[in-house]
């Protein structure tokens, strides 16, 4: 599903590369935590998968495709198989919950009938049944994040990328979100989640990838947030 071969990434005007010689593989259906302090390269790692950036060295394969060889106009099609969730939700404030989710389908040209069927279904799945016509501003943070997850998942992506999805939420709400992500993972969707939330990582006992100053320092199945001291 995802393979990094000796991937390095440096940004112009920065001495230290953001990623150094990272090699790893993530297979279909896995749930992976990506941990590390700020500036450790987590975001760069995710941006490389989304092909917002290109690797400086090495190869990144996503869904069987070498991203370095993927021409620009094919990138949108690749991204349709990825779902993304962010810490700041990134909802459109002037659209209702249902419209926000439908937006992800409209802009890739899904037929109207399909959208009408899929949106209530996915809202039901994330636990927002009955809140279709609410505006994002009227919802709690946890609910907003559920809308964002619904939007990321409505096109049934093979891979869900979550960049600190619980970063703005209280612990109790976070647990709900994690349960939802776990449920999505059980449908066969690969989930990669960057997080700082120690409790969550320790509880879930999933594979943990730790980056430190751009290097891969730990890749542990059924891992915890940090080394036990």
């Amino acid at each position: 599903m995802i393979r990094f071969d000796n991937v390095s990434k440096s940004y112009p005007k920065q001495n230290r590369p953001a990623l150094r010689d990272v090699s790893l593989e993530i297979t279909k259906g896995e749930f992976v935590f990506l941990v590390g302090s700020s500036g450790s390269g987590k975001s760069t790692f995710l941006r490389l998968i989304l092909r917002e950036e290109r690797a400086s060295h090495g190869q990144v394969h996503v869904l069987g495709k070498d991203l370095a060889r993927l021409s620009n106009w094919k990138v949108p099609h690749m991204r349709r198989q990825l779902g993304t969730v962010f810490q700041d939700f990134r909802l459109l404030p002037n659209k209702t919950v249902a419209e926000n989710v439908a937006f992800a389908q409209e802009v890739i040209g899904k037929p109207r009938g399909e959208i009408r069927k899929a949106v209530p279904q996915v809202l039901e799945l994330v636990g927002l049944g009955g809140k279709e016509d609410r505006m994002p501003g009227e919802l709690s943070g946890g609910e907003q994040q559920r809308v964002a997850i619904a939007r990321a998942f409505v096109n049934r992506p093979a891979l869900l990328i979550a960049d600190e999805p619980t970063g703005n939420l209280d612990p109790q709400t976070s647990v709900g979100i994690m349960k939802l992500l776990d449920r999505i993972n059980r449908t066969g969707t690969t989930v990669i989640m960057a997080t700082h939330d120690q409790q969550i990582v320790d509880q879930m006992r999933k594979r943990v990838i730790e980056l430190e100053q751009g290097r891969l320092v730990r890749d542990q199945s059924r891992g915890v947030y940090g080394y036990q001291h």
Binding site: L92, A104, G109
Partner: protein, 311 residues
Amino acid sequence: MRAQFVMSEIGVGLRRNLTMTFAVVISVALSLALFGGSLLMREQVTRMKGYWYDKVNISIYLCNKNDAQEGGAGLGGTACAKGAVTAEQKQQIETDLKKMDLVKTVYYESADEAYKHYKEQYGHTALASTITPDQMQESFRVKLKDPEKYKVITTAFAGRDGVYTVDDQRKEIDDLFRILRYLNFAALGIMLIMLIVALLLIVNTVRVSAFSRRRETGIMRLVGASSFYIQVPFIMEAAVAGLIGAGFACVMLASGQYFVIDHGVALRDKIQLINFMGWGSVLTKLPLVLAIGVLMPSMAAFLALRKYLKV
């Protein structure tokens, strides 16, 4: 779904930048009106030049029967008192012309040809309808190697038997054409400036609307909308504004024709010597004006997007 979605996005975009849209519409309208006006002016000048203007320097008009009957009381004075030009006189003039070093080419225009060319130039004017073929004069049309030396020809042939008048036609209307040419340059210059203003305004509009919609476009990008799909609303915004501007330009051109030439100022009635262009000339320019009005802003928006919108 797609079309409706795109249309509503365009509407929202245009309304959000209403002042900017307004500025784009006005500058596009003005620049295209000037562009169309300059095209039309050029066509009018070509029309006024007639058949011979660009081909020869001097015309030697020969006496016809009419001139002889009037006893030469017309414009040529008594030049034609001795009767219409004879075949020998014509022959003589032509050989003399061809002998001169100064002369490059000599065309002979028969009365019938003259009538034909006259009809082409003045076909629709009131004056033309009173002219008959036998009123036209035969002429020699002379192209000189050095147009400044037209006086040599004048002295050599004016006053000869059978010659009505030697006419250096260009000198008389050259001034008018020169003025028109300068006007045309001025119009094109202003058009160019207005066009640049319009394009800069469009670039700025795109930048503003790309910024105010960065949330939408960011999400579109993430869920895998094609770059074309993301860019279309911006480009269409510019195209619609450009089209409205071009529409205004067309209205201005048409009202120019209507109020200045046909009615209102009514130049066509006041200056009958000039064969003014008709609606056909104006109407054929409008599609070009509209096409440019849509394409230029679209191109500007597209180029601006490459800079201001990451896709």
